[in-house]
Each structure stands twice: as C-alpha cells, then as structure tokens.
C-alpha cells in the first residue's frame, strides 16, 4: 500500500514545526493482547487538508485517532503531529478533538464547558469571551449557552463537542464520527464548519461512516480494514472507475458467471452492477447479454461513488 502523496499545504503553516505535515505515521501498530487493532499504519496528511478515514466497524479507526492523540500507547511504530512526536504536550495546544464517545460535564453550562477547555488549552484569558462566543455561534448553541449540559439532547451535546474542538484556532482537528447524533440540518452545518476550517488552513482528520459526507468534504481518503490501510489517495484517484448498472431478464447463473469477464459483478436478480467497466465496453456487454439469451431493459453507466468503491474494497479484502 503506497503512502498518500504529500501535497503542499493550501495555506502557509504558522504554528509548530512549520512546513512539516499535519500528521505523519510510520508503521504505527497497536495490539490489545492477541488482537491486532492496527497493523502498520503509514500515512502523511498535509496541512490544510481534509482527510477522510474510512472503514467498517472494528477496522481500527478510533484506535488510530487515540494513538495519534497519545491517549493510548503504540505497540510499535512512530508518529508525528505538526512535526512533533505524538503525545507532545506543546502540540496539543494546537489540536482540537471531538471524540466518538462525546460527553461533557453535565453539571456545567455550555459556556462553562468551553471556558474550562479555554483554560486547559490554554488560551489567553483575554480571548476567552470572543473564542466562546464564536464557537457557540458556529455550532448554533448561542441561545443555550447558559443552560446546563445535562439538559441537552445528544445532538446538542455533539454540537457542544464540536465547539470545544474549534477553540483556540487549532491547526489540526480530529473529528471522530462528528455527525452520529445530528439530524440532516446538523450534518449540513458540520460540512460547512469543516469547509470553513479547511479554508483557513486547518487540517481536518475526519473519521466517518457516512460516505456521502466524506465524499463531499474530503480532499484525500484512506480506507482501513482489519487494522490496515487498504487504499488511499485523492478522491479523483480513488473514484476513477465507472459503474454500469444493467436491468436484464432471461439470464441464468451460468450466463451471469460468463459476464464476470467484464468486471466484478454485483448480482441483485434482474439488476446487475459492473464495477470499473469502461464506457467503450458497454456495447460489448449488451451484445454479450443478448447473445446469452437475455433481454436488456436498461443500461446506466455512472461515475463510481465512494460507497461503490468502499464496498468493492472491503469485499476484495474479505475475498483474500
């Protein structure tokens, strides 16, 4: 698996070890007893880039985030955030983090939670008011700023977590499933926030199951499965293929197996999907179906989506 190409950052980095990538790991691994949670993660995320980290449940995504943040220790390998080794305290001044398991002090108000994180960050006290006001406004919690977190819905708590991650103009933000508790409006807001972060040069590491969301905001993507990165690259590199959907009747199992020469077939009865089939081969495919005694009702070539590619990668991995 090749490492991601290192792309010059969109904005000149101002912070720690300027010029170094936002994230760099070399063979980062983690074992829990006999279970391999992460097996040799090597990647580079340039500054100012929105990086999507995808994978099925238990693939090692959250473990990777915790390793990068120094919350758990690697079994082997190395990693650097903003040019400094993972776990470095000074680096954490420039990092925002929304955990997958987001929980904040229920006995504090939203404003007090943000003030607490301003203090821990630490952000100069003179900037707290502006920082808190901006963060609350960005996530749409201004009107609930003085309410205790214990009275918040899950979605509002996730918004608060997002506000916490935005404090102090971080150079790198980790968002672990940032929309898991949000409604469609909230998801749209999160996409806008991520775009806003990218526009000011902040690198975003986005862990998400929602592939359409990742597709809309990420510059580069890595797919992880069974603790290994199985594919990575820019969205264009990853989604270069075409998927052709065909609705045809009269084909038996043997006939469908013959069609495998046109690419990987996803067989859903009368609906067949051919992955990575070039447009110029579509007439040959139709001719082959007819020759096999099939009757073709619909042929729809379309650009491969991230979901198509993701499912294909995971299936390929399972077939190995």
């Amino acid at each position: 698996m090749a490492e991601l190409a290192e792309i010059p950052p969109a904005a000149a980095p101002q912070g720690l070890a300027a010029g170094s990538p936002a994230i760099r790991t070399v063979e980062l691994s983690k074992r829990f007893g006999k279970t391999v949670a992460l097996a040799g993660l090597s990647m580079t995320v340039p500054r100012g880039e929105v990086f999507g980290f995808l994978g099925p449940n238990g693939a090692g995504k959250t473990t990777s985030v915790k390793l990068l943040l120094g919350l758990i220790a690697p079994s082997s390998g190395e990693g650097w955030l903003l040019g400094r080794p993972i776990g470095d305290l000074r680096t954490r001044r420039k990092i925002g983090y929304l955990p997958e398991l987001f929980r904040y002090q229920s006995w504090l108000t939203a404003r007090e939670v943000l003030a607490l994180h301003c203090e821990l960050a630490p952000i100069p006290r003179s900037s707290w008011k502006d920082e808190i006001t901006t963060a609350l406004d960005t996530v749409g919690l201004t009107e609930r700023a003085s309410d205790r977190v214990g009275t918040f819905s899950k979605g509002m708590q996730q918004r608060l977590g997002l506000a916490v991650a935005l404090l102090g103009e971080p150079e790198l933000v980790f968002l672990d499933e940032p929309t898991s508790a949000l409604d469609p409006v909230g998801r749209h807001d999160v996409r806008e926030i991520i775009r806003g972060l990218a526009s000011r040069g902040t690198a975003v590491f986005l862990n998400s199951h929602l592939l359409s969301e990742v597709e809309q905001v990420c510059d580069t993507v890595a797919v992880v499965d069974h603790g290994r990165v199985i594919a990575s690259g820019t969205m264009d590199q990853l989604l270069s293929g075409t998927t052709v959907k065909v609705r045809a009747t009269g084909l038996d199992g043997e006939g469908k197996a013959t069609l495998a020469s046109f690419g990987q077939v996803d067989d859903e009865g009368d609906h067949l999907s051919f992955t990575n089939l070039k447009a110029e081969r579509v007439p040959d495919l139709v001719a082959a179906i007819v020759a096999l005694g099939g009757r073709v009702y619909e042929v729809a070539p379309r650009q491969q989506t991230l979901e198509d590619r993701f499912l294909q990668l995971i299936q390929d991995e399972d077939d190995k």
């Binding site: 829990f32 915790k66 943040l69 919350l71 758990i72 220790a73 305290l89 000074r90 954490r92 001044r93 990092i95 983090y97 929304l98 955990p99 398991l101 987001f102 929980r103 904040y104 002090q105 006995w107 504090l108 607490l116 994180h117 203090e119 821990l120 960050a121 630490p122 977590g161 916490v164 991650a165 980790f174």
Partner: protein, 287 residues
C-alpha cells in the same frame, strides 16, 4: 491556574453542583442537633437519691459516649470517602468525559493529583467543620471538651483521606462500585485486624499482635482511629487504663498512648505511595 488546580476546582464544583455538599451540611446539622440533645440529657440524669450526677461522672460518661459517636462518624466519613472516590476516575473514563480533556496539554498525573486535591479539600473541610460543630455542641450540652480537639480532627480527617487515597488508586483501574466496595471492606478489615492485634496484646502473643501492626502499615485507618481515641481520653480514664495493664490496651475504643512518631511518619509515606501508585496506574492505562 495549573491543570491540576483546574481539576481540583472542578471536583469541588461538581460536589457542590450535585448538591453533595448541601446534603452533608444538612445531615451534619441534624446529627449534631440530635447528639447535643442526647448529651444534654446526661446532665439531667439523677441518682437514686434524686441528686444530679457529679461533674466527674458526667465527664466520664460523656467522654466514652463521644468516642462511640466519633467511631460512627468516622465510619460515615470512611463510607462517604470510599463511595465518592471509587468512581472518581473510572466513571469519567467509562463515560468518555476524560477523552476531550486528556487531548489538551495536561498530564495524567495532573488529573490524578487534581482529583485527590479537590476531594482532600472537601474531606478536610467536612471533617474539620463537622467535628468542630460536634465538639462545640458537646461543650454546650455538658461542659466537656476532649483534651486534644485539634489532634482529634487531624486523626479523623486523615482517616477519611486514607480511604479517599485508596479509593482513588482503585478507581484508576476498577469500576466505581468495585473500587468503593473494596475500599470499604479494607477499612472494616483494617479495624478487625486492629482488634485481633489487641487480643494479641492482652494475651501477650507477639504473632497475633503482629496482625494488628501489619494491618496498620498496610492501611493506616485503624492506627489513625487509635490516635483519635487517645485525643478524646480524659486523664482519669488514661490513668485507669494504664493501671489495668495489658487488658486496658486490648480495646478498639481505648488507647493508652498516642500513635508513635514512626507510625505518623509512615502515614505520610503511605499517602505518597498511594498517590504515586495512582499516577503510575492511570498513566499506564489505555483509555
């Protein structure tokens, strides 16, 4: 403010916002009020000839009753410390509350020390405040003041701090309920081992006596309790106990001598070991 102090402040703030402090204040006022009424009744007890008890006898009864009341009070303090300290770190790890905080530039040792400091302040304030109130109430009701009131507060407060420290150590690895139960059972076992040691003293059996000594070293709560008892013994009672020889020493509610200075030095070392172990345990925990 350093991260440790921020965590300490947060711990106190949580106790206050969750109304733990309010509950303790109300309960303490109720207990002190009832005990003042009860102690006052001692001064109204009459003998068969209808005369009131002499002051010496009132002092004797009050001092012994105060020891029993203080024992129950120290038990409540130990229970409270164990219940509050047990989930102190484990619950915040399990809920994920610590995740976003630990991603900030703070060390795990600062979380542990901050939590300990915050609860230590609460225990100290509660122990000092409630003990002073009780002493004042007994003084008002009977005119009796224990001979060493400051020492008494220090010993009882330290007993609570010891249980708090043990609970905190356990909470770095175990769930809140498990840690709290273990801390409480350890306190009870420590007290029972102290009684076994007393039996060894009365039988002049060194091996049995060592059970008490070793338990005092492993968990110094019973040793501190003996210090509290000594601080409450009037001279007349001390003289009678000394005259009784080894039998006088074989009682968890009596103490002929104050705890040796070596033991008090060990208590300080014990606290340092507990904190160091807690820091090490939490630093090596994966969350």
């Amino acid at each position: 403010m350093t991260p440790a102090l921020v965590v300490a402040r947060l711990t106190i703030q949580e106790a206050s916002r969750r109304r733990l402090l309010l509950a303790l204040v109300i309960l303490t006022l109720l207990v002190v009020g009832f005990s003042a009424w009860g102690f006052n009744k001692i001064t109204t007890v009459t003998r068969s000839d209808g005369s009131l008890l002499p002051a010496v006898q009132v002092t004797l009864i009050t001092s012994q009753l105060l020891i029993v009341v203080t024992f129950v009070y120290s038990g409540v303090l130990a229970l409270s410390a164990a219940v509050v300290a047990g989930p102190l770190i484990s619950s915040e790890v399990e809920s994920g509350l610590l995740l976003s905080m630990l991603a900030r530039p703070m060390r795990r040792s600062e979380v542990v020390i901050g939590k300990w400091l915050g609860l230590a302040v609460l225990v100290a304030i509660y122990a000092a405040g409630s003990a002073l109130l009780e002493i004042a109430a007994v003084d008002w009701a009977t005119g009796y003041v224990p001979p060493h009131p400051i020492d008494l507060i220090l010993y009882v407060g330290s007993e609570g701090l010891a249980l708090l420290s043990l609970g905190l150590l356990l909470s770095t690895r175990l769930s809140g309920i498990t840690g709290g139960v273990i801390a409480l059972v350890a306190w009870l076992m420590g007290w029972i081992a102290g009684v076994v040691g007393d039996v060894g003293v009365s039988l002049q059996n060194q091996a049995v006596e060592n059970v008490g000594t070793i338990s005092h070293l492993m968990l110094p709560t019973d040793g501190l309790w003996r210090g509290a008892v000594y601080a409450m013994e009037p001279d007349a009672v001390l003289a009678a106990l000394r005259a009784a020889g080894t039998i006088g020493r074989a009682n968890p509610f009596s103490a002929v001598d104050p705890p040796p200075i070596e033991f008090l030095a060990w208590v300080i070392v014990w606290f340092a070991i507990m904190l160091a172990l807690s820091v090490w345990s939490f630093r090596t925990r994966e969350i």
